[in-house]
Chain length 231, copies 2
DNA sequence: CCGGTAACATGAGTGCGGCTCATGTTAGGA
DNA sequence: TCCTAACATGAGCCGCACTCATGTTACCGG
């Protein structure tokens, strides 16, 4: 019988979620070790046995909780996504953006902050499509990666702020997330702190796209539902 | 085919380039087998021994020409990049685009055509950052992936068409390529022929960005050298 | 307090796939 | 015709992801 808490994280990537208190700490330690190792040597050179060694658990224990190396990274990415959404929530409450473009700037800023401060986040973030299968939680509907991220961002934007909904909003946000993610990953490839020019460019790109697609909130032009970007 | 051709491909990813005629055919066969296998099972499930088997060569021969599995994929990606640039050149000659936005549409169209017709291209294209190290040809300057693609596209656009150059053009093209690449990969993730809505959206995204950044050719506004996108 | 059961723990071992290397064969020039 | 370098070969090595048989601890009903 369950000793403690309700599962806040999606459990699609873990083999067995710790039920007793003693194993909860080990569970987190394994994720921490994974994150540290990702920063040190990268995903390919990371070995599961080294993760286990750094976490101070035998290799068998690791495989009791995670389906494998990829699932381990996925679990870390899921934890990071929750952290990201929490931080974004706090940022939205501190100074609520007025339109989608400003909201996009918030998202970019928080993403950059995560890259700079959260262990393992620079090496493999929740949008990372490494092996093409992170976040493929639902085999049939194939919800994965940035699609999930975009979904969560939409919910956050529609509840926290009450930005206007829009037909096709899902696709627009998905495209924006995918594009920004690519440029931002590029910005952090060669510089630990991120290339500021490329970061700015990512923000410009997504702001321009969202403004053109969803319109400013002050002059809401709801005509041209599927029209092109008129720059 | 000449006996000994000048190396048109960058040789950074091959261990030994075939000098004698007999080995040239095998070289290509190995790349073809790699491409077919990528389509069949994907990169992770692809084994070098199976590539060798399908190409009809012993495993040792494969490793005489390629540094390893990753280098094999990289060599294929390099070959695909050359094919892509040739096709793009032909497309430009057939109907030359007038500005950067139209040129971008050409690039997107040809990229989609490649995804649909070239074996292995859907699974791993030249912009694919699988393992994060494709096209890292130059260890010191770290020229890789889409950075190289953007470079080649710039040369092609400035020579074939004579579009106006621009300060910061390199970065703008790099961002455009990275963004479009991400969205297009998404478009082809779940549909062999590509999601037409997402393809259209990728085109919209990059057209809008380039128009805002580089301006239309008819009203060339060279003011605001580093200014934001005014949508 | 005492079993009983399920969660938890352990690490030697297995299978597999990337890659090597010692040895043999062919091509092309002098 | 011989010599050298390019080419060819496949059994085997090595490292790593992952398993499994066996043991230990926590929790609960009685």
């Amino acid at each position: 019988m369950p000793e403690v808490e309700s599962d806040s994280l999606p459990s699609g990537s873990v083999r067995r979620r710790p039920m007793q208190r003693r194993s909860v700490a080990r569970f987190e330690r394994m994720l921490d070790a994974c994150a540290a190792l990702l920063d040190d040597v990268g995903y390919d050179a990371m070995t599961t046995s080294e993760v286990a060694r750094r976490a101070g658990v035998p290799i068998g224990t690791l495989y009791q909780f995670f389906d494998g190396k990829q699932a381990l990274a996925r679990a870390l990415a899921e934890r990071n996504l929750e952290v990201f959404l929490e931080r974004l929530h706090a940022r939205f409450e501190a100074s609520p953006p007025g339109d989608w473009a400003d909201a996009a700037s918030c998202v970019v800023a928080e993403f950059v902050e995560m890259k700079r401060t959260v262990p393992g986040f620079a090496a493999i973030d929740f949008g990372d499509a490494r092996a093409g299968k992170l976040f493929m939680l639902d085999e049939e509907r194939q919800v994965e990666n940035n699609q999930l991220v975009a979904q969560r961002l939409k919910e956050l934007a529609l509840t926290d702020l009450n930005l206007p909904d829009d037909p096709g909003l899902d696709r627009v946000l998905l495209v924006a997330v995918e594009a920004a993610d690519g440029v931002l990953r590029l910005a952090f490839r060669h510089r630990l702190d991120g290339d500021p020019d490329l970061i700015a460019e990512a923000e410009t790109l997504v702001r321009g796209y969202l403004s053109a697609r969803l319109g400013r909130i002050d002059n809401e032009q709801k005509n041209e539902p599927t029209g092109g970007v008129t720059v």
